[in-house]
């Protein structure tokens, strides 16, 4: 199988990730629940994961909350920061993991920046959203549908200057672009563990500047007599038994990313994405490509996008078709009615992979 659905999850994990999961399953008990060797080993494993994440993302280990996925982290962050009725600026490329929690809370959503690959316009529209009274902002780093890299450093700087707290959704950027809690000045940054960080599914990270409100209440292994969750991070936001094998795998994945180099990974993925976009254009597809694009490209085939993805699947190509849980992004790009076929590259991107994909994609137009 030629796997090109890394926007959903990375599939071919480095072998050390699998080894770390297996090792944790056979040697780690419940962390924070005992003083014996297997429980202590689990404690150390979780701390090592926090340390690795802290090194990659510019924060301290206690600011790293281990979550089930990016959506979990975003829900904690949004519930912590946003109050009902608050005016919240969101980009025109948000995933439902941002949009739905905001609507569920009764926030007043102000959408800014709907032009693909135009960072100047995005920034200008964001400033306008602040002028309209936005009290907080939630925005993605990279569109999960189109791969558009938003100007998050500039948006963050504007937020800091105006005293606007913000949440960054790094679902598509963690592991391939610089993401730094301290430098950006974010209140929260949420990311999955299983995409660019190459960990197992069921893992994620929430980086917290200072505190947060628990989504779940329960045991933390500390301050057991208190009726409320402890004030200290990360335990405040982590109730119940942790996914130790998953986080062991995530730690191994992050170590792989650190050793390979985030820039190197980006270059490898981006190069293939651009080659793929050019190839699709030559085939006469409607391709969404431009400057400030990461490792994801969407196209509209000359048939129903789901049918096209199915034809590709029968030839061993794994891509995703439809709305990609981001109707707002499709509304912005004008593809709400058709949807798109999304091709998203990962750490194992190669010219051979791209060529094999394009060879099969050519059959879609015959």
């Amino acid at each position: 199988m030629i796997y090109l659905d890394n926007g959903a999850t990375s599939f071919h994990k480095p072998p050390q990730v699998r080894r770390a999961v297996l090792n944790a399953m056979t040697s780690c008990a419940n962390p924070g629940r005992g003083g014996y060797a297997a429980a202590r080993k689990a404690d150390r494993m979780l701390f090592a994961t926090r340390q690795t994440a802290a090194g990659l993302f510019g924060c301290q280990p206690e600011q790293v909350v281990l979550t089930n996925n990016c959506t979990h982290g975003l829900n904690i962050a949004i519930r912590s920061l946003i109050k009902p009725g608050m005016k919240v600026a969101v980009s025109g490329f948000e995933h439902n993991s941002v949009v739905r929690p905001l609507y569920a809370l009764g926030a007043e959503v102000i959408v800014f920046g709907k032009k693909l690959f135009d960072q100047q316009d995005t920034l200008y529209r964001f400033a306008k959203a602040l002028d309209k009274g936005a009290q907080a902002a939630v925005f993605t780093h990279v569109s999960n549908v189109f791969g558009y890299i938003l100007p998050v450093e500039e948006i963050a700087a504007l937020c800091v200057r105006r005293g606007i707290p913000f949440i960054l959704d790094a679902a598509q950027s963690a592991g391939s672009l610089d993401v730094n809690l301290e430098k950006l000045g974010a209140k929260f940054i949420a990311m999955p563990g299983h995409k660019g960080l190459l960990g197992p599914q069921g893992t994620g990270l929430l980086l917290c500047a200072d505190g947060g409100e628990p989504l779940l209440q329960g045991g933390t292994g500390t301050a057991s007599l208190e009726k409320t969750m402890p004030q200290e991070l990360p335990e405040r936001l982590e109730a119940g038994t942790m996914n130790v094998p998953g986080y062991a795998g995530l730690n191994a994945g992050m170590e792989y990313v650190r050793r390979t180099g985030i820039e190197n990974l980006f270059c490898r993925e981006h190069r293939q994405c651009m080659a793929c976009a050019e190839g699709l254009k030559r085939l006469g597809m409607q391709v969404f490509s431009g400057p400030h694009q990461a490792a994801t490209v969407s196209f509209v085939p000359k048939m129903d996008c789901v049918d096209a993805a199915q034809i590709l699947a029968r030839q061993g190509i794994a891509v995703r078709a439809g709305l990609h849980c981001a109707p707002l992004a499709h509304e912005s790009a004008g593809t709400l009615q058709t949807g798109t076929v999304r091709v998203s590259f990962g750490h194992d991107a190669s010219p051979e992979q791209t060529a094999a994909f394009l060879k099969r994609a050519a059959k879609l137009v015959r």
């Binding site: 962390p31 924070g32 005992g34 003083g35 202590r40 404690d43 150390r44 701390f47 926090r50 340390q51 301290q60 280990p61 206690e62 292994g221 500390t222 301050a223 057991s224 007599l225 208190e226 402890p230 200290e232 991070l233 990360p234 335990e235």
Partner: protein, 84 residues
Amino acid sequence: MEKYMITFRSVTYAQRGEAVLRSAGFRCALGRTPRWMEEQGCGYALRLTCPEIAPVQQLLRREKLSWRRIYEQKEDGTMEVLEL
């Protein structure tokens, strides 16, 4: 050399405290806080042996690592909370 025990409410703070102290050359061990020391329930503690506690406190403060209490071991082996 004196023996001390520093208690923490958070296992993660205790773990970072252990890492910080070890990298500064202090010998310490992380474990569960004895039940009698922790009226709020379970916690974690660092046991360490050093000539005086002040440099340890300075280091932890510099790293913004808040602790709960510091105990000192008396000659008869009992632990007594230090009034600091």
